[in-house]
Amino acid sequence: METSAATPTRPPHQAATSPSPSPSSSLRLWRPAAQRNMRNQWSHLSAAKEQWLAAVADGRAHASALVNVHLSCRNMPTMDLGVLKDMPGIRDKANSKLALREEQYSGMLLSAYKEMVRQLSYLVEASHSMRRFSKAAPNCPITQFSDRQDNLNDSGDGGGAPVFKWFSVLEFESLAQELVQMFVSEQKLKRLLLLEFLSIALKEGVELQTSLNWGDELYDGESNKLQSIGLQSGDAYSPPENWCAERLGSQRPGNLPLHEVLQVYLTTWHANMNINRSRIDEIFELVEEEMKIKLS
């Protein structure tokens, strides 16, 4: 399966005469390594995509729990407690209990987000690791391949040759890029929602800061992580360019979002609007067909 003979897409004599940076013999050696790597990276993409979606689903459960607790907290002063109303300090006790739960749920929501960032980083990483470079080892007669570019003339794509049957490395990369782009856009939208969800919990607390801003780091190391996957350049995480910056800060501090607003947030979280499931399935089907393997 992995020998080049199984995929005779370019006759050796033709490759030998062309001024390609990968002569036929090295292409023959490159292909099995490239195929193995390509399968690995796409199975990473497949796994990370599933995990990311699972983290979103967890996040959704925590966010709606948080919203429910928040609303009962807010309704506490007017809530009819029936016979309980005569118990001393009952409302205060209930309130502090609810506030504690609010804190727990926002912590869980934040962990779900952290997991999403982590899975997104795997997605980005895999999409950037599709090339195989030959390893410069002058003393070793066996050609080896790695993910690091040693020679500037080696672009790691086998000179644009098909890796399996039809697709070149570049084509695999652009499919992966299309996939990653959906998750990146959705992740940004989720982060905006997360700011709002975490802010409602903050408003109950004693902290001086009453709302979170886009530029805030939401957990230790978020900034580093986002930088490492190329989502953030420099110290500040700037909002996507096509977003309207003035509206981003349009929430008035101290003003609690209405029930309808929270409903919009939850629906937006759940909808995964930037994730085009049918296109994703299509991409994976294409790739599986090309590689002749099943990824999930």
């Binding site: 939208l189 905006l192 929602l193 700011l195 709002e196 909002p239 096509n242 977003w243 309207c244 910056a245 003035e246 509206r247 981003l248 800060g249 349009s250 929430q251 979002p257 209405l258 309808e260 607003v261 409903q263 919009v264 947030y265 629906t267 937006t268 909808a271 609007m273």
Partner: protein, 194 residues
Amino acid sequence: MEAVVRKVQQRVRKAREEMDQWDDLNTRLLSQFSNAAAVISRLQALGEDKNYGPLRAVPNIRVDLIGNQMEVLELIFVKIRETLEKFNDVVKALNKALRDTKQMVRGGSALTAKQMQLQVGILPSIAECLDGFQTLCEMHHDEFTLKSSAISLLTWKTCSSDIAVLRQLLVDQPNIPKDEVQSIFDIIFADEIC
């Protein structure tokens, strides 16, 4: 005569298995209905720009979200129609069973009206069995018609009070009163009760 009654009972027993699916289907229908109702009840809030807070920074968010929810709703409607089709299958199966049973009774030696009414011991008469069977079929048929029209009234524009009424109709199943169904079975299977 007794043999004919036994055969009719046998047919009704088989038809009863079809009817047993009805409640499962209704549970499914109710859950699909609730899903649709949840989406519909959100739509109003999603339609108003002021409910988006800082999300308004994201271009086209409102239009995209509503479009997405309409798609979700459409998918639920497709599932609901599938469930309705299954109800219809049950109705059709019951009607066919009734027709076949009548055929069977008529196909034997021609029975006089008196023989039809004849009651042997605690066994029901053939006429009683057929009448009961017919009533059961009509109940399910009418209930299917009611469900279909209730569902056709459910659209993205239906207000929440109407949704509550429709839901109650689906829960109540007014054309299939449980006690009446039971008393029909009690008559047809009178000999098995004691």
